[in-house]
Symmetry: C2
DNA sequence: GACTGTTTCGGAAGCGTTTCCGTTGCCGAA
DNA sequence: TTCGGCAACGGAAACGCTTCCGAAACAGTC
């Protein structure tokens, strides 16, 4: 019997399970009003026939799409990719499909927010690792879908993130505790994000820590660069050209810190004997390069956001803001200052 | 007249333009068989009513889904994420949506090919950065959609990749040229991939290069580890415990190479004076750590795969296999052996 | 035993397109 | 004048689901 190969639909499943389409639909969607035995039978048949509902038809008829959009910048960078990885894993476990929207640069970003609302392609959107501007918020509202954020800072949506200020403070306090008083900061800004939404907790903490330690701020010790390691290297070079260079460097991220390390090494300086370096994130290469840093649980943030979304989608209550803890990881790039 | 606010559909447009739905549809889709004047009228009306076709309905009725599935392991690793980034950018520019399927581990992988969660949801699937087993190929066929591969090795589908053997050979030849004769290899295997599909070009080249140089193989100098940097560190430790340690180390990837570097540094050895280290990939951190390596254009591979797919989807001819070139990047981790 | 309430389930009406088949109208050729 | 051919267009059947509404079955209550 070489028939088949025809595309099977819900009617086939219903027939095979000996129920009506209505019941089949309810069973497949885990809807209310289906006897447990019936549901199981339908599910079994569906599995057997390796049937999947057509999202188009489902959506057309008024159901959910089973899709969620994930908006994320800079996928190729560890932090963002890892966040995505965590999120994807829980979403997919829940049988939701992930629509990936990579937005690098203001332009992309604008484009995304401008056109997504037109098409109702998803049940929800997750904004990963960047703050959402006001205009953009308005566009999102317009879609009328669930929204969740993660990895960025305080968002107007259910959100999971770290406390940047605390994390930064942990780094600074470690340096201070070691006895450093001349501490430089290499701040990183994302050139692809509008200035107004740049989170600044990591900078604030620098000043706060210094103030609390009674150390006057020397603005020469503060460098601001675009994200990315090579920029960190340049900044370090500038710092080394000061009459009185720092004994320790606090970088906004491990990548930037690594850039600084390169410059220091090339200058023949030893780490940590001559200069201490600390980063934030606990990027995998931090472990490989013996870099002291402040760890943030990245994958977990993605996972938590995913679970949060699931709960909301199910109509359950959920906390609005989740802040995950960070932790100082001491490796070989920090030590007390010489003398 | 506060009527309206009802969602307008193609029927409304057709009516307003004084044509049938059939004609409206054809006009909107730029199909054949519509008088120019009519088409313009329909388009004008649609614009006026700010009407957009419902993608769901459109697809239900027989159009393409406008989506493509991307299957990729280890997103959080630079190589995979970058490939994805390149692919996504061209796909999205072509107005295709990307459905992300992350498969880490045999299990995930099996699950994906077994359940084929993407079936009926996409027009094509792109397999990123891993070889597809025979059984898996059979499952994929089952979806009856276009398939393209990238970043893995020789695939039975249209494919873009580097020539692993050539790349590895470039690394080895560099070491050989510098005068090294005692060269170790730290080979990396992916524990998440079935053995049968592990590409081995990077290993083959080691033996071939040695043979061509007339250097006998010392199996003690070959270490095989799982992907990931810390494993590279362990392997290096083993290598250093040999009676006659290598003067140079060729690692299958930059990450593994970095692991080796850490061990060497901890042992107080200088790079490259005491030991040379070379990797493959040109991972961003290679630049930050002054690591000599063989660059492969990763983002481009993703982009090329995307364009290839686009061409196929449009029914155009396209080359079946694209091999992109690799290139030696000399930095500070390699030098002639001492004395 | 009649009645009410609760589950479980089926019929069938959409949802908004595309596309298969025709039909109509017009032009030039015979 | 008739007719074949062709471009332009219309009717209506899918497409595959969700959900409203009502029927049936059954349990519990007085």
């Amino acid at each position: 019997m070489a028939q088949s190969s025809r595309k099977i639909n819900m009617a086939d499943v219903a027939r095979a399970a000996g129920v009506s389409m209505a019941t089949a639909s309810r069973a497949l969607n885990n809807d209310y009003g289906v006897a447990e035995a019936t549901r199981r039978r339908v599910l079994a048949v569906a599995e057997e026939l390796s049937y999947v509902v057509s999202p188009e038809a489902s959506r057309l008829a008024g159901g959910a799409t089973g899709r969620v959009a994930v908006v994320v910048p800079h996928i190729s960078r560890w932090f963002f990719a890892t966040l995505l990885e965590g999120l994807e894993s829980v979403l997919r476990a829940a049988d939701l499909d992930v629509l990936l929207y990579h937005v690098d640069g203001i332009e992309d970003r604008h484009d995304f927010f401008h056109r997504l609302p037109a098409r109702r392609k998803v049940d929800a959107v997750v904004v990963l690792a960047f703050p959402v501007g006001e205009e953009e918020q308005r566009r999102l509202e317009l879609m009328g879908v669930t929204i969740v954020a993660a990895g960025g800072q305080h968002a107007p949506y259910p959100n999971v993130c770290i406390d940047d200020e605390t994390a930064a403070r942990q780094a600074m306090d470690h340096l201070l505790f070691l006895g450093h008083r001349r501490i430089a900061m290499i701040a990183a800004v994302d050139p692809d994000q509008p200035d107004e939404v740049q989170p600044s907790g990591r900078s604030n903490a620098y000043y706060a820590a210094l103030r609390d330690a009674g150390i006057p701020v020397d603005e020469q010790l503060v460098e601001t660069v675009n994200w990315g390691g090579t920029k960190g290297a340049d900044a370090m070079a500038k710092l080394l050209s000061l009459r009185e260079p720092p004994t320790a460097v606090y970088a906004h991220s491990d990548e930037v810190a690594l850039g600084a390390v390169r410059t220091l090494r090339r200058a023949g300086l030893r780490i940590p004997e001559d200069v201490s370096v600390i980063g934030i994130d606990d990027h995998p290469v931090a472990e490989l390069t013996d870099l002291t840093t402040v760890r943030q649980p990245v994958r977990e943030q993605g996972e938590l956001a995913g679970r949060m979304l699931l709960r909301i989608l199910r109509g359950e209550e959920t906390e609005h803001d989740v802040v995950v803890p960070t932790q100082l990881v001491i490796r070989g790039s920090t030590a007390p200052p010489r003398s």
